[in-house]
């Protein structure tokens, strides 16, 4: 045991002191922050805003030029006569000239757009939509409907999802649940892959350095392997912990700079809607005074979703049994890693260099990848279905599958306990198999090993 601790220490310290570890630990939260901040900043800068000249001879806008909801376009009035408009267009820095002729309300046509270069399809579509909307509004007015009535007619319903179980009713949020399930599964998947491969590399490194025989003349191969597997697990946990701390710090910092709702909203993946109010304010400052009333109402309407998301995020969090999720996450995070880590260690011992690992890697990584793929479709859709239940029991797939199921609730206690027990049993089995392959493999040089030989190694006398 004392020797396992020594090996554990060495594995941990050499890895944590590595430059690559420090860089990755610091960089990852910054990168993650960058993914959130950059789009927000980009939308604020909006450097690519195109200005469209509007020659409104047909008076479709009645002097009130609209604002573009996506903030890509800005409208500016030019003289209504086509010739004068063309002259103004040529002089100014306009991307396009929209000409609205006098038109027949029943059969509107003759609308034209002039541009120096070809317009993008997006621009064309938004301009068409703009005109259509104006005509529709005008037709409604003709039919005796005013805007206030229309707003009253419009419906905007959000379904409030409530879990009805024996514990009583709980407001839930499918979005948040899915997000947490996905995040947990993804972290476990990444962790097993990254750190499993590190175990394998560590073993191969000891073999190619020829240090391994010196070491195992002092300790048992099993001790060496256990020390390594546990040491690297500690490295992974350290990294995870630092990531949590750092990204919380970075997010808090960002929130104070950019305003909390935006960052929170961005975090929940609703970036587009969240930036919309911002777009509105920008446009309001530049467009004609009359347009500001329109902008104000849209901004108010648009602000609602952001607030709603925030509320539902908080509510969603509240609906989830956080201690259970965190506890289970740590268990499956470690359990899955240990289960696979032992196998990765065995692979490392059986080969001389990393290029030879391919043939053995496939059967180990296949279940992992498969679970992750299936998890995203089948398990998310039906978290308590047959496939999900079975996959959350089998140790090869349970770390990811169970973490996908848990946030949705409805996993019976016995299933969770059985899954955990099976994972522990599975780990004991893989570590046993791995140790037997390992103790023969680490002393085997210059030989391409086959599956047949691997299976023989298991029954060699120690």
């Amino acid at each position: 045991m004392e020797k396992i601790i020594l090996i554990f220490q060495r594995e941990y310290l050499t890895r944590v002191r590595k430059k690559s570890f420090v860089i990755m630990t610091l960089l990852a939260p910054l990168l993650m922050a960058a993914f959130i901040v950059v789009p927000v900043m980009l939308s604020q800068i909006s450097s690519n805003q195109k200005v469209v000249a509007v020659a409104d001879e047909g008076n479709i806008f009645a002097g009130e030029l609209p604002t573009d909801p996506s903030n890509d376009l800005r409208y500016e009035a030019v003289p209504a006569q086509l010739d004068a408009a063309k002259a103004a267009f040529k002089k100014g820095k306009y991307a396009a000239l929209l000409y609205i002729p006098r038109y027949d309300m029943a059969e509107p046509k003759g609308f034209r757009i002039f541009s120096k270069e070809n317009l993008s399809l997006n621009t064309q579509i938004s301009l068409e939509r703009l005109i259509n909307r104006q005509i529709e509004a005008a037709r409604m007015r003709q039919a005796g409907l005013d805007k206030a009535t229309l707003d009253k007619i419009k419906a905007d319903v959000d379904l409030e999802t409530i879990n009805l179980s024996d514990d009583g009713e709980k407001t839930s949020s499918t979005g948040v649940t899915t997000g947490i399930a996905y995040l947990c599964a993804f972290l476990i998947y990444m962790f097993i892959f990254i750190y499993g491969v590190q175990i394998m590399r560590g073993v191969i490194e000891e073999k190619t350095n020829r240090i391994v025989e010196v070491v195992i003349s002092s300790v048992k191969p099993f001790q060496l392997m256990m020390g390594k597997v546990l040491g690297i697990a500690a490295v992974g946990l350290t990294q995870l912990l630092l990531w949590v701390i750092l990204s919380t710090a970075v997010t808090t910092g960002l929130a104070s700079v950019f305003g909390a709702e935006k960052v929170v909203a961005a975090r929940t993946g609703q970036l587009q809607q969240a930036t919309a109010p911002q777009a509105g304010t920008v446009a309001a400052g530049t467009s004609t005074p009359a347009a500001s009333t329109v902008t104000a109402t849209t901004a108010k309407e648009k602000e609602n979703p952001a607030v709603k998301i925030q509320q539902s995020f908080v509510a969603g969090l509240a609906s989830i049994n956080l201690p259970l999720i965190i506890g289970a996450f740590l268990f499956y995070f470690l359990g899955g890693y240990l289960f696979y880590g032992a196998l990765f260690g065995a692979i490392g011992s059986a080969v001389d260099n990393e290029t030879d690992t391919q043939q053995f890697m496939l059967p180990v990584t296949m279940p992992l990848i498969l679970t992750f793929v299936i998890a995203q479709s089948v398990i998310i859709r039906d978290p308590n279905g047959t496939v999900a239940t079975w996959m959350s029991m089998i140790p090869f797939t349970s770390p990811i599958a169970m973490m996908m199921r848990l946030p949705f609730g409805g996993v019976p206690g016995w299933q969770l306990l059985l899954s955990m027990a099976l994972l522990i049993l599975g780990f004991l089995l893989t570590i046993w198999v791995a140790a037997r392959i390992y103790r023969v493999g680490i002393l085997m040089y210059g030989k391409k090993v086959t599956y047949g030989e691997l299976s023989k190694w298991m029954f060699y006398k120690a």
């Binding site: 020797k3 020594l6 090996i7 060495r10 050499t14 490194e205 000891e206 190619t208 350095n209 020829r210 240090i211 025989e213 010196v214 070491v215 195992i216 003349s217 002092s218 300790v219 002393l443 040089y445 030989e453 023989k456 060699y460 006398k461 120690a462």
Partner: protein, 317 residues
Amino acid sequence: MQPILQALNVRKAYAQHVALNGVSLDIPERSIFGLLGPNGAGKTSLIRIITQITGADEGEIRLRGEKLKPAHIAEIGYLPEERGLYKKMKVGEQLLYLARLKGLSKADATERIRAWLTRLDIKPWAEKNVEDLSKGMQQKVQFIATVLHEPSIIILDEPFSGFDPINANLIKDEILALREKGATIIFSTHRMESVEELCDNIALINRSHKVLDGSVRDIKNTFKTQTYVVEGKGRLMVLHPDFEVLEHRERENGHFYDLIKLHGNTSPNDLLRYLIGAGSVEVHAFRELIPSINDIFIRRVQETMPESLVEELETVR
């Protein structure tokens, strides 16, 4: 005196072949013991059993009469044939780690490391990564790691392969010094001439069997052939029935080199007297032809092996 290490009828088989078959050895305390044999004879397998890296299928190893147990690991220092170090680790840290794996306390290990690094002149490199060291210096570090915990048995597998002559001599001196302090040293090598003059006792292993063992002096005496080397000048004519010329080589300026075997009860003095009496030669050198361990090995193998295998062995050589 009881041998410090004994192998009793050790057998070890792998899937395809038998590596050791009924090998028994006695290794006397404070001796330098040569475990000799061609590549693949089973030397490393035996060493791995002694160092408890693997176990024997049959038979057992005894250390001071006691069956080998995990605690004995600390009594053995092992420099494997496939040896190396963690490249990205500092010399001092690495030695400390390896010493502590052998059960040394941190304080003891640190002190001894300092002493050894100074002794072998690599103190300034203690804080360097191993990959920054020259190969010769890495070998010194490996040697230090082998002996740091003051083992009573030091096993060196092909110790001089890859060592430059200066380091090899340095290590030889250190080995002799350790023996003076009471350590028993086991050399394992297929280059028999390299350890011949160092070893007190040897065992020859071939094809998983021990073919010969004993003290070097006894073995050489047993294998002596009463043959003498005569070098000199002039025309050598040997017509005596008890003196047989095995080999005669003419050199330039009338010099010659002869191998002469004595028969009957003649002594080397008789031969010398005969040569001088003949008058036609001037003797420059006269010495007994002592067979090298290599020669003995080949002879022994020829005696114990079927014809076909001898031929095979000779074509390999």
